[in-house]
């Protein structure tokens, strides 16, 4: 598959995401925030970083960049979209996902290997995992606290839209230990930890993040 990775001014993990896409067996296509088309990609990754310097709110300005108009339209038609960290924040600001991400409750940047439980393997980004799988991938964020009102949280839980949950202690104050969610349709996934940093034995926290990228292939041929 052709997987687009968007670079915004201030993106940090776009090249790592492209690399993970390739290791996952796909072609990576670089997209720029000013692009007005998605260059025929089959899926899009919004990478981590500090797009637009996190000015105003994390993701608030990126959400109105030209490429996001295209991403929002494609997501509405069912294209798989994965937002990692800052990408998750952009997806929430875009209202493609419910809730919001606020400063960590302990007010410090957190950077550690984080254990997660995969709660939903019915998305194009998680189908390579079994439900209940426990994986360790990198977590690094300053504003990773997932919040939403009680009714929204209940709906996310009830509809199986919680994709991943933190294990071994809540690292950032996210309500109900939520690390990642999906939309109602299941094609858009936001994840605070970074699977793209856990795809090779040589670096990072192992290879348990690779499933997020190999899942797409299984999805394509399903």
């Amino acid at each position: 598959m052709k997987v687009g990775v968007v670079t915004f001014p201030g993106s940090l993990d776009d090249v790592d995401a492209q690399r993970a896409v390739v290791i996952g067996g796909h072609e990576a296509v670089a997209l720029w925030h000013g692009d007005h088309d998605l260059k025929g990609v089959d899926a899009v990754v919004l990478p981590g970083g500090f797009s637009y310097g996190d000015y105003l709110r994390c993701g608030a300005i990126s959400r109105f960049s030209p490429v996001m108009t295209e991403v929002i339209e494609a997501a509405g038609k069912g294209m798989p979209v994965l937002g990692i960290c800052n990408g998750f924040q952009i997806l929430c600001e875009s209202h493609l996902l419910p809730g919001a991400l606020i400063r960590n409750d302990h007010r410090k940047f957190v950077c550690r290997d984080q254990k997660l439980r995969i709660e939903n393997n019915r998305t194009p980004w998680t189908s390579a995992y079994a439900e209940g799988d426990e994986v360790t991938i990198v977590l690094k964020n300053g504003e990773g606290g997932f919040v939403a009102d009680e009714a929204t949280l209940d709906r996310l839980e009830g509809e199986g839209q919680v994709v991943a949950r933190y294990l071994g202690g809540n690292p950032n104050g996210s309500l109900r230990d939520i690390a990642g969610i999906t939309n109602e349709r299941g094609n858009v996934v936001g994840l605070m930890p970074h699977p793209e940093h856990a795809v090779e034995d040589l670096t990072g926290a192992g290879t348990q993040g690779l499933g997020f990228f190999t899942s797409l292939a299984a999805h394509a041929f399903a």
């Binding site: 419910p98 809730g99 919001a100 606020i102 960590n104 409750d105 606290g145 919040v147």
Partner: protein
């Protein structure tokens, strides 16, 4: 301003710093943002409606923040 039910870590940090400087009696601190938008000419009802739209779409995130618009001459 962050909605009352939303945790405000920055406000908490400020609240924690006040007693260290000898300022006591503050029971809570919430930190928000203020934007000053300038226009030439009169601020008509249409202009105000536009500003409300700006506040709702970009300046604030209604999921976690409330906003108020005020006109100053």
């Amino acid at each position: 301003m962050p909605k009352p039910e939303i945790l405000d870590p920055q406000g908490k940090a400020v609240h924690g710093a006040l007693p260290r400087l000898g300022f006591t009696g503050v029971t809570d601190v919430r930190q928000g943002k203020r934007f000053e938008l300038e226009f030439t000419g009169e601020v008509t009802a249409e202009v105000l409606a536009e500003v409300e739209k700006m506040a709702e779409t970009l300046l604030s995130n209604p999921v976690i923040e409330n906003y108020a618009v005020r006109v100053e001459q």
